[in-house]
């Protein structure tokens, strides 16, 4: 069973302009993701969600504190953490198959093995009929599916998803939420997922962390199980209109809202 631990992680950016003060993007973050956790980070822009993900991915070195994956300290990016970007980050000169198996190519896997693994995950995201298409021939949702399949091919311990559905239209987004949940359920991987959408956060999370800016920190954490109901009845829209769900949304929105008032006045 995998475990990702953030211990007293603080990230301080240098002053953006001369004369201004340094930016406390993250302050003293403690967070443990383990087993089959689906952790969703929610918060206004600038609250440090993406910084947090970049620290986990190994792109940013924390100013203090440390990140441990399975008791090993993270020192840089690596294939044990799969990243799904908001802007899919596909390579336009490679077709769907080659984009998906890109990581395996970098690891110098044999061609047949690459094709086999990529085909497996492309099947999982429902793109088995688009292997020879190029990214510019795909819709936004399909591009994001390729990005997801690609992140899965290296069999990472955790999937780090930075607003992966943020650029999609509402209907595609609903379908993709269910797809991501199904893949999480089948692969039993840890997920760290960033979103702006309160509904998406509550629906998908087993653990929801609400973040607040200046300095970036976790102000509230919930254990949720709405996604378990989804695996039972597969009716996402009904779950999202349950009284419990609506109460939860109200509560989370109140927290974010009162926090915004605090910031505006402070």
């Amino acid at each position: 069973m995998s475990k990702l631990e953030l211990q007293k992680v603080t990230v301080i950016y240098p002053p953006p302009r001369k004369g201004s003060s340094e930016v406390h993007a993250l302050e003293d973050i403690n967070l443990t993701i383990e087993g089959n956790d689906f952790v969703v980070a929610l918060g206004a822009s600038g609250c440090g969600k993406t910084t947090l993900l970049n620290v986990m991915a190994g792109f940013i070195q924390p100013s203090s504190g440390q990140v441990m994956l399975n008791a090993k300290r993270i020192k840089g990016p690596g294939a044990d953490r799969g990243v799904v970007f908001q802007q899919h980050a596909l390579l336009p000169w490679l077709n769907v198959m080659d984009n998906t198996s890109f990581g395996l190519m970098l690891q110098r896997e044999k061609s047949e093995e690459r094709k086999k693994v990529a085909a497996k995950y492309l099947g999982l995201v429902g793109l088995e009929d688009f292997l020879t298409h190029y990214p510019y021939q795909l819709s936004g949702g399909m591009r994001q599916r390729v990005g997801l399949a690609r992140a899965l091919t290296s069999d990472p311990a955790i999937l780090l998803m930075d607003e992966p559905l943020g650029a999609l239209d509402a209907l595609t987004r609903e379908i993709m939420q269910e797809l991501v949940l199904d893949i999480w359920n089948q692969t039993k991987k840890m997920v760290f997922f960033i979103t702006h959408s309160v509904d998406e956060a509550i629906f998908m999370a087993t653990r929801l962390i609400v973040m607040s800016p200046r300095p970036g920190r976790i102000i509230k954490s919930y254990h949720l199980d709405f996604n378990k109901q989804f695996f039972k009845n597969r009716d996402a829209r009904r779950i999202k209109s349950l009284p419990d769900f609506i109460d939860m949304r109200q509560e989370v929105l109140n927290i974010i809202h009162s926090d915004e008032i605090r910031i505006d006045q402070g």
């Binding site: 991915a57 792109f59 294939a79 990243v83 970007f85 890109f102 970098l106 190029y134 290296s154």
Partner: protein
């Protein structure tokens, strides 16, 4: 009365269409600048220019000394193709020029592109190459032509060096710009899949810079043709530039015009080839 109204309307209708006023047909997008095929218009323009040229000379409005007719230029082309003019046949002149331009172009490809990429990915290389390239780039090749003669003499080495210098700067700077066009997400994506730095440069940055590299090659070869005539002005034994200059000395205007057309035609044909390669190598260009 009604007749004149309808005439007015048709005229307005015609101009509206020509200048893209009014709602567009289904399948087109309103307000898109410069849409539509221009091939037919280009052919008409080309034919019209040649006709006008022929017509002016045919009517005898300009003396053949200043502007010979298209037919006499064509005749000269056939004649000189295998007969000596200015020390060599047209074929030999063309071969000499092509050898110079493409040697320089090839040398620039194998040096300027790596230098440009290195400038894009490494601050040390950028620091080293930026001042010399930015300094000599705006100087016209004619300005440093005398220096290349002092240093290298008047053989092909000097001519190829001159053309090479003109081609180098735009190719290197475009390759460098190409590196910048690769998104940070694409690079981070590769690292997060376990790529080494060398793999990122080879598999992401170099390929991502391909559209700009090809643009740089097109611009570079354009500079090459421009510099060719300058390079062949001094003490050349063969070459289209040399042929044109010696023809001008003896006021053989039809050879002058013919030489210009030959350079233009070769350059244009090569650009078409480059555009074809571009469509094959970077079919995604402008689509993502």
């Amino acid at each position: 009365m009604s007749h004149s109204t309808s005439f007015k309307q048709t005229t307005i209708g015609y101009f509206s269409k020509l200048f893209g006023r009014g709602p567009v047909l289904p399948g087109e997008s309103y307000g898109a600048p410069g849409v539509g095929n221009s091939m037919g218009i280009s052919i008409v323009t080309s034919v019209a220019i040649i006709f006008l040229w022929w017509f002016i000379t045919h009517m005898g409005w300009v003396k053949p000394l200043f502007l010979p007719s298209p037919i006499s230029v064509l005749r000269k082309f056939v004649e000189i193709w295998s007969e000596d003019f200015g020390g060599a046949t047209l074929l030999t002149h063309t071969e000499a020029s092509l050898f110079r331009v493409f040697s320089a172009f090839f040398l620039a490809c194998v040096t300027a592109i790596p230098v440009g990429i290195a400038m894009g990915v490494n601050r040390v290389f950028r620091g080293i190459f930026d001042p010399p390239i930015e300094f000599y780039r705006p100087i016209p090749p004619l300005g440093y032509l005398p220096l290349t003669i002092i240093w290298l003499g008047i053989e092909d080495t000097q001519k190829i060096t001159l053309i090479y210098l003109a081609v180098f700067a735009p190719m290197a700077l475009n390759a460098r710009a190409g590196v910048r066009s690769v998104t940070i997400e694409q690079i981070q994506m590769a690292y997060s899949l376990g790529a080494s730095r060398a793999q990122v440069i080879w598999h992401v940055i170099l390929k991502g810079a391909m559209p700009e590299i090809l643009t740089g090659m097109r611009i570079g070869i354009g500079f090459g043709w421009t510099t060719l005539v300058a390079a062949e002005m001094v003490a050349a034994e063969a070459g289209i530039g040399h042929m044109v200059l010696s023809a001008a000395e003896f006021l053989v205007t039809d050879v002058v015009i013919m030489g210009i057309i030959v350079i233009g035609a070769i350059a244009y044909a090569f650009d078409l080839l480059m555009r074809f390669i571009e469509r094959k190598v970077v079919p995604w260009k402008g689509k993502m």
